[in-house]
Amino acid sequence: MSARPVVFDEPYRWANTLRMQAELYDTTLPLRAEILASHRAAAEHWSSPGTWWTASERVAVVNEVRAAWDAAPLPPWTAPSTVDGLVSEDHPLPAAAVDMIWRLTNHLTTLTHDWYRSYVPALLTPQHYVELVGVVAQVTLVDRFADGLGIERISLPDPQPGEPSREQPAGAEATTHWVPTAPIVDGSWNPATAADVPNVRKALSLVAAERIMQWVLIDAHYVPGGALAGDLATGHWSLERSQIELLGARTSAVNECFY
């Protein structure tokens, strides 16, 4: 079974929305159908065989992101796998993956190319690393959403059997990013220069399934891809565009993300 995000091509109806909300979250807050659908898709995605990690390993990644976020503070230079009793000896993930997950979850302001090179390729292949980045980032979105609204974090389906797909995109090489990236042609971003997609859109292109899931979540929570290059005066969902961009800018400043 290959890991593919669920594609939604049916209109969202109110009853369907309510049913999804009841399945996923215990709240009376008005969660938009797009958000619910994307979170359900994400949970299924994490519980499915990935491109390089098995479903059980991917569920372990989700659990480790949560463990890292909820843990007592640990300095960025202290690898959790070196702390007695913090990581079980029979953990489904290799120690390098656990350490990388904690660092990306809690200390993303400290990431450097040297740090990346300390893991890749000696301890993790670029492919395994990119898939981890994708899942950690997606889980962070969904969990910060839940925590921010004061609702219980989403539960995952049981991990599905099957092998990772090991799909490799053609033409991947490390040129602009630390990680290898593959060519993407996407006219939804800018039809005039469909091959000139933004660097953040290429970032996970080594593992297409994670790139696609990332964009499913973006479209549901932010501004659908094509509108990013368009009118900056029009609001979206219930917020004005200026409010949306402030939220993005302040969050990125806190996380010291220059991009």
Binding site: V136, W178, Q243, L247, C257
Partner: protein, 113 residues
């Protein structure tokens, strides 16, 4: 840019700007009491739809920031011309992630901090 770097009480011309900036800080932090207080303020001031969407946006940027910082994503060429001025205005010179974008500008192009 004060709202971005040092949120206070000034909305900066953005409806409920100060409150939204504080919401970002609460979501990024791990203090449950602070999160509850800010959430209730947003709910009372802006309503449930805007609360949900605002939390959704900041949560989305937590995802994007990890993707960008975790993969060494450099700025796009179209951003490079304004990058030094933006970096100066938000005190981004100290971000480790600026190293992913060699801007290669002369001293004459770099705003004095």
């Amino acid at each position: 840019m004060d709202l971005v770097t040092q949120p206070g009480d000034d909305d900066g011309g953005i409806p409920h700007g100060a409150l939204l900036a504080h919401l970002c800080d609460a979501v990024a932090g791990k203090d449950a009491e602070t999160m509850t207080n800010v959430r209730e303020q947003v709910l009372a001031t802006m309503g449930p739809d805007r609360l949900v969407d605002a939390v959704g946006v900041t949560a989305m940027f937590h995802m994007m920031n990890r993707v960008a910082n975790g993969t060494g994503t450099p700025l796009d060429p179209v951003m490079l011309k304004v990058a030094p001025a933006v970096a100066a205005s938000i005190d981004a010179a100290g971000y480790l992630s600026t190293a992913d974008t060699p801007m290669g500008l002369s001293a004459a192009d770099t705003p004095q901090l």
